[in-house]
């Protein structure tokens, strides 16, 4: 069986390795760099910038930990980006090494599907190469969406792709869109010294999160003196020599040195032959797939950002595994009810499953348990007392419907609940499990106990 994967991002490279593990002869076609957006432009680059910002934050707050700092500390953006590039290139080499180890052939160039059994690749040198195949997995991902009337110029109007490679720290930064990407960059640039203002059309920042979590994050934005204008949109942008001038829907004008547009992502489904082979697409260009991730064309599968929906690297990877299994004759599906998500703001957010509002909208008879980070000895020891654990459960079955955590290491902590949900465990299963002391994970146990008003470290209700 020959399987060809279009795109070597977190969806495509995982699909390729899985297919190889299952015995397929695998070719991966990649126009950019292996690792895709996640490794080269998104997840990993932002996390390395955040790591630098966190060290800076710790040093600035050294006094609180009883440490005397002799001298000052300043971010050197060139060195910070250099470190980022090093981390990325190490990971890129890692994926290339995995391909080699599993016998996956990497063809570097732009692939166009000629027919369901053939892809033509335009190589870097301009020549073409045909790749014959039995099945195709499309994993071409997405790119930063732009506002047509003020497109990215990379100098004044930045995309997230530009924002991970700054050549300087702007004195002031206006961020359009206070979603996951906007908020992560807000904390990074604020820490590095920019004066940051965010403009968001929705009533809340991170509007895809549970309302209470979003509220806590908004307070942290305020604490960090990051301005957030909600229910506000951008009417007009004037690019000037020394910056931008932006007219807002509330009638006000904001001047800033640079502007980052983080309003979402557009799928990459153009100019790759999909129309010619008759692959159905949705209104936004998203490739339509069935439960087995197969498109309407037999033998052509699609995964990850390009199928729209939740755009998360790890979901793309899971879809890659499922598509590879199905392409090899399996019958796999993705459980979309249990998709953990992480936001690397300060503090972090980790979530999985239903938000409280969703549970209410579905008419579920639900219960909520909460516990504050400041109720944990470990949080005090770390100096990280901001945050909350929240568990939503089904009143009758006691099964967990969702969990939402904001606080230090929330992105790691949420997985205990993800496993519990995947296996259909109850709130009491979590509450009965001994959690090591002193850890932040104790907060999950306490929140589980709190569902039944029995949290040991909460006052009687």
């Amino acid at each position: 069986m020959k399987i060809t994967v279009l795109g070597a991002g977190p969806g495509g490279y995982v699909a390729a390795i899985k297919a190889a593990q299952l015995g397929a002869e695998v070719t991966v076609i990649e126009d950019g760099e292996v690792g895709g957006t996640c490794l080269n432009w998104g997840c990993i680059p932002t996390k390395t910038l955040i790591a630098s910002a966190e060290v800076l934050h710790k040093i600035k707050n050294a006094k609180k930990f009883g440490l005397e700092l002799d001298g000052t500390v300043t971010p050197n953006i060139e060195k910070i980006v250099e470190r980022k590039n090093k981390v990325v290139s190490t990971q890129v080499k890692g994926i290339r090494g995995l391909f080699k180890s599993w016998g996956v052939t990497l063809v570097e160039g732009r692939g166009v599907i000629v027919d369901p059994k053939k892809i033509q690749v335009t190589l870097k040198d301009g020549t073409t190469q045909d790749v014959d195949t039995d099945k195709i997995i499309i994993a071409t991902g997405s790119r930063p969406a732009q506002i047509p009337v003020f497109p990215f110029d990379g100098k004044r109007i930045l995309s997230s792709d530009n924002a991970i490679n700054p050549d300087s720290i702007p004195k002031s930064l206006l961020i359009v869109g206070a979603g996951v990407i906007g908020c992560e960059f807000a904390f990074i640039y604020k820490e590095f010294g920019s004066d940051v203002t965010m403009v968001e059309m929705m009533p809340n920042a991170v509007s895809t999160e549970d309302d209470e979590i979003a509220q806590i994050l908004e307070r942290e934005l305020k604490k960090n003196k990051i301005k957030l204008l909600t229910n506000t949109s951008v009417d007009k942008v004037d690019v000037k020599d020394d910056g931008i001038s932006v007219q807002l829907s509330n009638g006000k004008t904001i001047e800033a040195e640079k502007m980052l547009v983080s309003i979402g992502r557009a799928v990459n489904s153009e100019n790759m032959g999909l129309e010619d082979v008759g692959v159905n697409k949705g209104q936004r260009g998203d490739i339509i797939v069935d439960e087995k991730l197969q498109t309407n064309v037999e033998g052509i599968y699609a995964i990850g950002d390009v199928i729209g929906g939740i755009m998360l690297a790890h979901l793309a990877s899971k879809e890659g595994i499922v598509a590879a299994e199905n392409a090899m004759g399996g019958d796999s599906k993705v459980n979309y009810d249990v998709v953990p998500a992480a936001i690397f703001t300060s503090p972090e957010i980790g979530s999985v499953g239903l938000r409280e509002k969703q549970a209410a909208e579905k008419g579920i008879n639900y219960k909520v348990g909460k516990f504050q980070f400041r109720g944990l000895g470990k949080a005090h020891a770390m100096g990280e007392i901001v945050g909350m654990f929240k568990i939503i459960s089904d009143q009758e079955s006691d099964k967990i419907l969702g969990a939402h955590i904001i606080g230090a290491h929330a992105s790691d902590l949420v997985h205990e609940i993800a496993v519990a949900m995947e296996k259909g465990l109850t709130v009491m299963d979590i509450a009965h499990t001994i959690h090591a002391h002193p850890t932040l994970a104790e907060g999950i146990m306490e929140a589980a106990e709190d569902v039944h008003d029995m949290a040991i470290h909460s006052p009687k209700k």
Partner: protein
Amino acid sequence: MYPDDIKYHKEHTWVRVDGKKATVGITFYAQETLGDIVYIDEPEIDSSVESGAEFTQIESTKATSAVISPVSGKIIEFNEDLGDAPEVINEEPYGKGWIAVIELEDESELDKLLDAGAYEKYVEEEVKDK
């Protein structure tokens, strides 16, 4: 602990009136119960508040709590010094630890508030046992 020149709300806030201007803060009991104050949210200037309703939030090492306004009116000033030094609320809840100035809407509301003696009694008898 409970000075005589100010009035008290049962939600553990106080008000000192000077003409139309009402300076508000949290009481000694409130700061003692909360523990070390680490942050106070800056309320929106020019926004309206109702007596008995939340007008901002306060964070301590123990809890995040709503701060209830003892009077109705418009918030005209916030104590900016608390931004960098919220612990002043613990040190001087009735002095440098004031939170905001509210332009009074209805002076008759003040009659419904407690005086120092009544508030102290309220704290001793009704709150501390709970």
